[in-house]
Structures are given as C-alpha cells and as structure tokens.
Point group: C2
Chain length 283, copies 2
C-alpha cells in the first residue's frame, strides 16, 4: 500500500492549527496554511511553523495538498467546504480538530464530493491562551486523541488519521463513534464548564476572594472561557449536553432534598458512592 505524500494544508492557524503545523513539519511534512490574518501567516513563516501560507482561498494553492486539516469553528468549517470543496485535489484526505462530532462529521460527509474523504478527529488538548504565537506540539504530550470514524470511512483513512495523532505525540489514541464521542465530551468537558461558569456567576463573590481555598479555585479554574467558541460548541451538542445537565441537576436536587429533609443517611450514602467512584479517577 502506497503511503500518502507528506504534505498537509492547515486551514485556520490558531493555537491548535499552529501546534499541528509545527509538529508535522518537524516530522518532515511540507506544511501550507490558509488563515484570515496576514500577520498570522507572516509570524508563522518567520518562525518556521509553515512552509507557505496565504489569506486567500485559491484553487491553485488548495489543490496542491493531499491532506487538509481544518482547525475552524464548526459553522465556519461547513461554510468553507460548501464554498471551496471544488478546489480540493481528487483523493485528498480531510480531517479536523473540532470538539463536537455528530454535528460536524455527518453533515460534512454528506455534502462532500464522492472522491474526497473526511474523517473526524478530536485532539483533547488546549491551553488558556490563544493564537499561533502560543502554539506548541508539546501540549499534545500525554493527551487523548480521538478518531471518530463512521460507515463512510475507509480503513486507510482511519490509519492515516491515527498516524497524524502518533506523529504529534499524543499519549493515547482511541476510536469512538461520533455519538459516543459527543456523549463523553458532553459529560466530561461541556457539563464541567457549565458548572464552573454557573458557580462563578451565581453571585457577586468578589468580597470572598480573600477567603478562597483550593476547592473554589479548582472548581472555577475553567470558568475563564472563550464565550464565542464554547457557546458554539454547546449549541452544536445541544441535545446531548441538555440531557447531561438534567442528569446533574437531578442528582444535585437529590442531595439538596436530603439536606432539606435532614436525611443524614441519604447524604452519607451519596458521599460514600462519591468517594468510591472518585478513586477510579486518581492519576
């Protein structure tokens, strides 16, 4: 079996796109980039993050690449493909880094030219800073990389997509259906951000900052949040996240009702279960 040529186009050169570019380029890939801002391209060229780059989407440039990695907001990714998929080289492999999958993978696979293949991937890594200036493939070290193949994907695409994760140095590479991915992300990541944001905003707690111990700090670390990106990701996973939020509210309500009814036994039962379950998550 022939190996896919080692070149890739990164569309959207931010923190994740830049980190992909650096990591793949170090592994010998020729890296191109398309992104909105000229200064981002200039920075990336000057710092050896990419081999070439442009702010315009041109047929002669796009059609040079055998792999395209989309690092865009979900709705921007869909719009981009609607507008420009004609430019893409026949047989190219397309993948992404989006944090939600059902609402991206199926619509993309449905709209795509039959001679192209899209396979979803989610690098579960990030930082609290943004932009290509902060990009660094070291953020992938030890992190999870989830490939989300569907019935529309070939074994070759799955292998190729996993290979990108291996090159980038992820700690663990796994495969999940888009549905299971979104359930997992809805619970572990989106629900936790909803909780942190709600705790941080439920009252004006400025006067309490001086008394804060580790508990409150731990629970609100992720309450500093990019509101545009996370609102979009929440809305893309709306049904799943709503059901996770309802599950949490129900259990929180159980504990509340036990407290209201001075039902010590139920409170202790819940806490004992909590302690038991948490043990599994110790690193």
């Amino acid at each position: 079996m022939q190996e896919r040529p080692k070149n890739a186009l990164i569309v959207g050169l931010g923190l994740i796109g830049g980190s992909y570019a650096k990591g793949l380029r170090l592994a010998g890939y020729e890296i191109g980039a398309i992104t909105r801002s000229r200064s981002t391209i200039d920075y990336a060229l000057e710092h050896g993050i990419i081999d070439s780059g442009t702010t315009e989407v041109r047929r002669d440039y796009v059609s040079r690449f055998d792999t395209i990695i989309f690092c865009l907001y979900p709705h921007v990714l869909l719009e981009w493909l609607e507008q420009y998929q004609d430019f893409i080289k026949p047989g190219a492999l397309l993948t992404d880094v989006t944090g939600v999958k059902v609402s991206v993978v199926y619509p993309v696979q449905k709209m795509l030219r039959p001679d192209l293949e899209f396979i979803g991937a989610h690098p579960m890594a990030g930082r609290e800073v943004y932009g290509v200036e902060n990009s660094d493939p070291a953020i992938f070290k030890g992190a999870n990389y989830i490939v989300t193949p569907t019935g529309a994907n070939t074994p070759e695409a799955v292998r190729e997509c996993r290979r990108i994760g291996e090159i980038l140095g992820f700690g663990r590479i796994a495969e999940l259906t888009p549905e299971r991915h979104d359930e997992m992300i809805g619970f572990l990541s989106q629900l936790t951000h909803c909780i942190a944001v709600s705790l941080m905003t439920c009252k004006d707690s400025a006067h309490l900052a001086e008394y804060t111990g580790d508990s409150f700090r731990d629970l609100t670390r992720i309450a500093r949040i990019n509101e545009t990106m996370w609102s979009e990701l929440f809305l893309c996973n709306r049904e799943e996240l709503l059901s996770q939020m309802d599950l949490f509210m129900q259990q929180f309500g159980r504990l509340r009702d036990a407290l209201a009814g001075s039902d010590r036994k139920t409170m202790e039962d819940i806490m004992r279960l909590s302690t038991d379950r948490r043990k599994l998550f110790d690193k």
Copy 2:
C-alpha cells in the same frame, strides 16, 4: 496586662488537633490531650506531639489547663461541655476548630459557666488524610484562620485566639461574625463539595476515566469526602447551605434554558461575566 499561661488541652487528637499540638508545643506550650483511643495518645507521646494525655475525662486533669481547644465534631463538642464543663478551671479560655460557627458558638456560649469564655475559630486547612499520624503544622502555612467573636467575647479573648493563629503560622488571620463565616463557608466550601459529589455520582462514569482531562479531575478532586463529618457540617449549616444551593441551581438553570432556547447571546453574556469574575480569583 498579664499573659495567659502557656499551656493548652487539646480535646480530640486527629489531624487538626495533632497539628495544633505540634505547633503550639514547638512554641513552648505545655500540651495535654484527651482523645478516645489509647493508641492515639501513645503515638502522640512517643512522637513528642504532646506532654501528657489520657482517654478519660477527669477533673484533676482537665482543671490543670488555662486554654482548651476543642477539635471535635459539633454535636460531640456540645455533649462534652454539657457533661464536663464543671471540671474546667475558672477563667479558662475555650476555643475550637469547627467548620461551622452559628450552630456551635451561640449554643456553647449560652450553656457555658459565666466564669468561662468560649471564642470560635476556624483554621481553613486540611488534608485528604486523617489522624494524628498525618498531623503537621505546615498545613497552616499560608492558610486562612478565621476568628468569629460575638457580643459575649472580651477583647482579651479575641487577642488570645488570634495569637494562637499567629503561633501556628497561618497566612492570614481575619475576624468574621459567625453568620458571615457560615455564609462564606456555605458558598466557597460546602456548595463546592455538594457540586463535586453530585457530579461524581450523577452517573456511572467508570468507562470514561480513560478520557478524563483536567476539567473533570479538577471539579471532582474534593469528591473524595469523609461522609460522616461533611454530612454533620452540612446539617449544622442547613439553612445557609440550602440557600446557596438554590442560588447555584437557579443560575445553572438559566444557562440550561439559554441552551435549550438556542439563546446564544445569553450564553455568551453569562460566560463573559464568568471570565471577568474569575480573573479576581487568580493567585
């Protein structure tokens, strides 16, 4: 003004009691201890944590001390004083380390002999392990120590109680009314534990452990919890904690409803407020 003699009786020799004993003894205090288990006394004597100790509450022993520090569960503290306050030396100063204040300070001050004085204190420090074997005054370094005086307290008692906090090396010593203390603790500590426990128990998440990133780990670190102690502390602060839980549920519900209604603007507004407020809490 005469200084209070440097001796203290620790009642309840666990993690906190033992850490008080060590810290005060290093500062030249003669330290006595009363605790339930003989092996705890033996351990503390062997390791130079206390000068003397007993498992029996005897008049001739209790009456030797000018300061008594109660490191007991709230209901045990109240029972102890009901039963044994006659043994206490006239003029002695009594303090505690309990994590709730209204339900302890006022009942104690009401029941106490008029020649004794009780002043509440809360060392906001702890570890995820228990027992005198793990005691270490280093846990107080940088932590908050809250004194909760009421109209029944003298300036001398406040000074003396603060001095204990200084000797133990706390990072910050503050005074709050019992009511403000319980509101603060209800929000920063008890509510956060309720959230962590509810998140940890709302579904069987064992199959997700392998995908867990920092968010879920951060939010559930405190979900390993001593169910007996925390249930008692929650019940002692029931009304306050219920109102904090309701406040949180209301805000969580707002975010949920915004998501259900695809109301992106409200979601972004909440997240923007969250980011702004969290900045104050950065260390």
